[in-house]
C-alpha cells in the first residue's frame, strides 16, 4: 500500500534465468569489486580468503541463475536487524549493511526469503550482501554477465521491456 522511497524509479537487478549460462563471472567480478586491490589477479591470488561473492549462482544441470539482494521495498532484513546496521536508503532504495554496526546476529539471514545474505567470518562477524555497487554506474555482476542474464533497470523500463520476452515489433514500412 505504500509507495516507499520512490521504489518505482529505483534501478534494480533483474534476473533472466533462461539466459544464465552458469559461468559464474558475476561471482568472480563481485569478489574483485569487494576486494582491497580491485585487481582480479591480485585479488584472487592474495586476498581471496577475505572475499565472499555477494551474488550467488545456483545451478542444477542446465538450469542456473545468479541471484543477489533484491533490495525489497519492505525489506525483512531491515526489519529484523537488531543493531540498525541493515538500512534501506530512502533516496536510493539500496539496502546496505553497515559493517561497523553489524554484530553478526544473523537475524537478516533468518528472514531473507532469497537467502542472499551470507556470513562473512573473515574478520569481525558481519553479514555480507549485495550493495548494488553503489559507486558504479552498473553493478559489476551486471556489467560482466556475458549473456545479459542480469539486467539493471528501473521498474518502468522493466515493464516496457519485460524480462525474458521479445518485443517482436513489426517494422511498418
Amino acid at each position: 500500500m505504500r509507495e516507499r522511497h520512490g521504489d518505482c524509479k529505483m534501478k534494480k537487478i533483474y534476473i533472466q534465468e533462461e539466459y544464465c549460462i552458469g559461468c559464474r563471472l558475476c561471482e568472480i567480478y563481485c569478489q574483485v569489486k569487494h576486494s582491497k586491490s580491485k585487481k582480479i589477479i591480485k585479488a584472487f591470488k592474495e586476498e581471496m580468503i577475505d572475499i565472499l561473492p555477494r551474488v550467488l549462482v545456483e545451478e542444477i544441470g542446465y538450469n542456473s541463475f545468479a541471484i543477489q539482494c533484491r533490495h525489497c521495498s519492505d525489506a525483512p532484513c531491515v526489519e529484523a536487524c537488531i543493531s540498525g546496521a541493515m538500512q534501506k536508503n530512502k533516496n536510493t532504495g539500496v539496502v546496505t549493511c553497515d559493517e561497523d554496526k553489524c554484530v553478526g546476529c544473523w537475524s537478516c539471514i533468518m528472514v531473507c526469503p532469497y537467502g542472499v545474505i551470507r556470513r562473512n567470518l573473515s574478520g569481525k562477524k558481519i553479514a555480507s550482501k549485495c550493495d548494488l555497487c553503489i559507486d558504479e554506474e552498473i553493478p559489476v555482476c551486471v556489467q560482466n554477465c556475458p549473456n545479459e542474464a542480469l539486467k539493471f533497470m528501473d521498474k518502468d523500463a522493466k515493464e516496457k521491456n519485460p524480462v525474458g520476452t521479445k518485443t517482436g515489433r513489426k517494422n511498418e514500412k
Partner: protein, 516 residues
C-alpha cells in the same frame, strides 16, 4: 584398441601467473578440454579435445588462456599438406565420410577481393549519406514487363495530369520489401538453436528484411514474425503444410546448397527432440533425412509444377523462389528456373556455409558466387528475362563491400548466413555437426543453447544490418548514387585487380586502370 593417429590441431597455453582457477573455462567447454584438480588447485587442459572455438579464451576473465594453431604438426610438405594427412588419419580411424561445418576454408580465389568499387570525383559530386537521402530499399519478386495506365484525358487539352484520374491497369506481382538488400540465409531450426532462429527473426522483423526458415519447419514461437519470414520447401519437406506456407511472406524451394551441391541433409535422430519433432512434423527420435534430389522434381517442368502448386497454395499472394547451388551450368539453369516461373532465384556459391557437409564435397564442388552472379545476370539479360525474377546472391558475403559488389554484378539482394552467425558469436571452428557448439548456435543441448540470449542476438544482428547498411550508403554516396536500384548490374562501377582476361570477361568488368 589401436592408437589413434590423428593429432590435436590446437595448443592451449595457460598462463599460470594469470590463471585464478575460477573454472570459467571448465564450465564453458562442452568438449571437456579443461579440468580442475582440487588437490593441486590447478587447471589442466587436454589439447586433443580442443576444437578451437575460443569460447574459453573469450570468457577467461584474466586472459590467461591462449588457443594456438598447432604449428609444425607435420613435416612441411606442399603436396601432402597437414589437412590431407589429418584427414587420412581420421578416415583411417573412422572409415567414413569426413564431415565438416560452415563454408569451405580452402584457398579458392575470392573474387570479391579482386574487385574494386568506384567513387565519384569532380565530374560528378559524391553524396553525403548523412545529409542527403540515400535509398537502399529493395524489392524482390517478379516485375511485369511494363506498366499500363488508364488515363482519361484529352491529349490536347491543357488539363494537367494531376487533375486527371489515373488508374494503374497492370497488377504488380507480390514483392518482398526489404529496407536493405540483405536477408538472412536459410538456417533450419535443428541445425541451429531456436534462440538463433529467434534472433534472426526478430532482427529481420525489426530492421524490415527477411529471414529464412531453412528446411526445418517453423517453430510456433516464430509465428509472430510471419511478415518477415521466407519459408523453405526442401527435399525432406519437413514441417511443410499449407499453414506453414502461408505463415511466410515468400516461399523458397531449395534445390541445392552451395556447401554441398547435389547432396542432401541428415539430422541424426538424437537431435530430433520434442520441439524439433513437432516443428518438423516427424516422430521424435527419427533421423531427419533430406534426400539429395526432390523426388518429385526430376526435370525443369517438374520444378515448374511445384512452383505453380506453391503459388496456388498461397493464393498467388507470395513470391515463390528457387534456391540452387552455383554449379558450372548455373546460367542456363537459372534461365530455366526463371522460365519455370520462379519469382526469385537464390544462387548459393561454392563458399556457402552449412551445418554439416562432407568435407570433400564442400571443398571441391561448385563455383564461386561472384562468377555465378555475373554469368546468370548476363544470361538472363541476353534472354530478355532478367526482369522476371530477382536474383539473390548467397555463399560467403562477408562485408558490406561484398554486398555492393554482388549488386553491381547483377544481384538484387544477398543472403547472409555465416556473417549473421559470426555476429552472434560463431568462431568458425567448423564443428557444427557435432552439436556441441559452445556458442549456443549449432546445438540443441539446453545447457549450450542458453548461451545465446536472443535479445543480444537480435541486437547484434540489428547492429550488423545497420552497420552494413550505413556502409553501403557511404559507398553509394561516394560513387554519386543515391538509390540502390542504380547500382544493380552497374558493372561500370567495378574494376578487377589481379584477374586475367577470362575472369574479367566472365565477371563483365574492366581491369583496374581502364577508364569508361
Amino acid at each position: 584398441m589401436a592408437l589413434e593417429l590423428k593429432q590435436s590441431e590446437f595448443e592451449i597455453e595457460r598462463d599460470k601467473n594469470k590463471c585464478i582457477s575460477c573454472e570459467v573455462c571448465v564450465r564453458q567447454c562442452s568438449n571437456d578440454v579443461h579440468e580442475y584438480d582440487s588437490d593441486q588447485d590447478t587447471l589442466y587442459s587436454d589439447n586433443s579435445k580442443c576444437v578451437g572455438c575460443r569460447r574459453c579464451e573469450t570468457l577467461c576473465p584474466t586472459g590467461a588462456l591462449k588457443i594456438r594453431n598447432r604449428e609444425d604438426q607435420f613435416k612441411t610438405n606442399y603436396n601432402w599438406t597437414s589437412s590431407h594427412l589429418s584427414n587420412i588419419y581420421r578416415q583411417a580411424d573412422s572409415g567414413g565420410v569426413l564431415l565438416t561445418g560452415m563454408g569451405s576454408d580452402r584457398a579458392h580465389t575470392v573474387y570479391w577481393d579482386h574487385i574494386l568499387f568506384n567513387a565519384a570525383q569532380v565530374t560528378n559530386p559524391s553524396i553525403d549519406p548523412l545529409r542527403e537521402p540515400m535509398e537502399i530499399r529493395t524489392f524482390i519478386g517478379r516485375k511485369p514487363e511494363r506498366l499500363d495506365f488508364e488515363i482519361n484525358r484529352n491529349k490536347d487539352s491543357k488539363e494537367s495530369l494531376k487533375d486527371t484520374n489515373i488508374k494503374l491497369k497492370t497488377k504488380v506481382p507480390p514483392q518482398l520489401d526489404l529496407s536493405t538488400p540483405i536477408m538472412f540465409s536459410a538456417m533450419s531450426y535443428g541445425s541451429v538453436s531456436l534462440n538463433v532462429c529467434k534472433s534472426l527473426a526478430a532482427a529481420a522483423s525489426e530492421f524490415g528484411t527477411y529471414y529464412n526458415t531453412g528446411e526445418g519447419g517453423l517453430h510456433k514461437d516464430l509465428y509472430g514474425y510471419a511478415k518477415n519470414t521466407i519459408v523453405q520447401v526442401a527435399s525432406g519437406r519437413y514441417g511443410v503444410d499449407v499453414d506453414y506456407l502461408n505463415k511466410g511472406a515468400a516461399v523458397e524451394i531449395k534445390i541445392g546448397q552451395g556447401a554441398k551441391p547435389g547432396i542432401g541433409g541428415h539430422l541424426p535422430g538424437e537431435k530430433v527432440t520434442g520441439d524439433i519433432s513437432n516443428t518438423r512434423m516427424i516422430p521424435e527420435g527419427t533421423d531427419a533425412i533430406s534426400p539429395a534430389p526432390h523426388h518429385d522434381i526430376y526435370s525443369i517442368e517438374d520444378l515448374a509444377q511445384l512452383i505453380y502448386a506453391l503459388k496456388e497454395a498461397t493464393n498467388w499472394l507470395k513470391p515463390v523462389g528457387v534456391k540452387v547451388s552455383a554449379v558450372h551450368n548455373i546460367a542456363p539453369i537459372a534461365s530455366g528456373i526463371v522460365r519455370a516461373g520462379a519469382d526469385f532465384v537464390t544462387i548459393d556459391g561454392l563458399r556457402g556455409g552449412t551445418g554439416a557437409a562432407p568435407q570433400i564435397i564442400r571443398d571441391n564442388v561448385g563455383i564461386p558466387i561472384e562468377l555465378a552472379i555475373a554469368s546468370v545476370d548476363e544470361r538472363l539479360r541476353e534472354e530478355g528475362i532478367r526482369y522476371r525474377s530477382s536474383i539473390i546472391a548467397a555463399g560467403s558475403i562477408r562485408s558490406s563491400a561484398d554486398v555492393i559488389k554482388a549488386i553491381a554484378l547483377g544481384a538484387d539482394a544477398v543472403y547472409i548466413g555465416t556473417a549473421a552467425l559470426v555476429a552472434i558469436g560463431c568462431h568458425l571452428c567448423q564443428k557444427c555437426y557435432t552439436g556441441k557448439c559452445n556458442w549456443g548456435i549449432a546445438t540443441q543441448d539446453p545447457y549450450l543453447t542458453k548461451r545465446l540470449n536472443p535479445e543480444i542476438g537480435t541486437r547484434k544482428l540489428l547492429n550488423l544490418l545497420r552497420g552494413w547498411s550505413l556502409e553501403i550508403k557511404e559507398m553509394l554516396g561516394g560513387a554519386g548514387i543515391n538509390a540502390i536500384e542504380s547500382l544493380k548490374s552497374n558493372r561500370e562501377h567495378l574494376r578487377g585487380i589481379n584477374l586475367n582476361d577470362r575472369e574479367l570477361a566472365v565477371l563483365g568488368i574492366k581491369h583496374a586502370g581502364e577508364a569508361w
